[in-house]
Amino acid sequence: MFKNKLVLYITGFLISIALTLAAFFAVVHPEFFHFDSTAVLTAILVLAALQFLTQAIFFLHLGPGSESRWDVAIFASTIILILIIVVGSLWIMNHLNYNMTPQQINQYLMDQSG
């Protein structure tokens, strides 16, 4: 039992370090993989998602075999809430930005500063 847990922690640690260095390398040397900026962006977001899964499985011990299903259930509903907050905010704010002309923005800023 102790050995199993120790192996889990060491594996998780090594994977998380590797994922961090990979994401860093993709940003600092994109020419190495012939990546354009969209590819780099996709790569680091995928690596962050993998990193998140690594931490959840190896450090927090979540997953299908988890001891308490309630932990996982409340975790999943939190993720849904977060997606609503983040995606919703970005969606609304981008539309507001898009629908405001530069003149309107300048007028608004002048009104604000009196």
């Binding site: 961090t20 994401a23 940003v27 780099v40 931490q55 977060i82 907050i85």
Partner: protein, 189 residues
């Protein structure tokens, strides 16, 4: 049996707290994502943020998460010496992380890039500062835990407390991964 049940309950309660904390961070991330380009004539994210420093902070925090897990394993085996040793290592690494972060903040302030400069900097300081505040509370928690282990030994109460601390620390690590990706790396793409 009863003790086991109440420990499960207290860990579940703490887990619920962590999830609400995660929602707080999500709101701060959403604010940062909408304001990241609103630099109001001040420095932009790519001019200001240093990825090398952020990489060092990330590696330090990942290692501290690992040593924190090892401390919990030692505590479950009732090994007092190693528990104290790994907790001490976690404290040192957490302190190093906080030092790097505060050094970065004071560098920005010296350049005149404060939270009052632009929407980008307000949201940057709020998001990264809230995480730093959590880390500081975690460091305080380690000190209290070390005293309790010193005076009371590894009683079931103390071990249960360490389990909650480990959850808290791993959670902060996860939040930092997203700060590293969304705040630091994405500014340099």
């Amino acid at each position: 049996m009863n003790e086991q049940k109440s420990e499960d309950k207290s860990i579940f309660g703490f887990w619920v707290y962590l999830m609400t904390d995660l929602i707080l961070f999500a709101a701060l991330f959403a604010a940062f994502a909408t304001l990241r380009n609103s630099n109001f004539g001040g420095p932009t994210a790519s001019q200001l943020l240093d990825v090398n420093n952020a990489l060092a902070e990330t590696l330090i925090l990942l290692t501290s998460s690992f040593t924190c897990g090892l401390a919990l394993l030692a505590a479950e085996r009732n090994n007092r010496g190693w528990t104290i040793g790994w907790l001490g290592a976690t404290f040192a690494l957490g302190g190093a992380f906080l030092t790097l972060e505060l050094a970065e903040f004071s560098k920005f302030l010296a350049q005149g890039a404060s939270w009052q400069t632009s929407g980008f900097l307000s949201s940057f300081f709020t998001l990264v500062g809230t995480h730093g505040l959590h880390i500081s509370i975690g460091l305080l928690w380690i000190v209290v835990a070390l005293f309790q282990i010193g005076f009371r030994g590894l009683s079931p109460f103390v071990v249960s407390k360490l389990k909650r601390f480990a959850l808290f620390w791993h959670f902060l690590d996860i939040v930092w991964i997203f700060i590293f990706t969304i705040v630091y790396l994405m500014s340099h793409v």
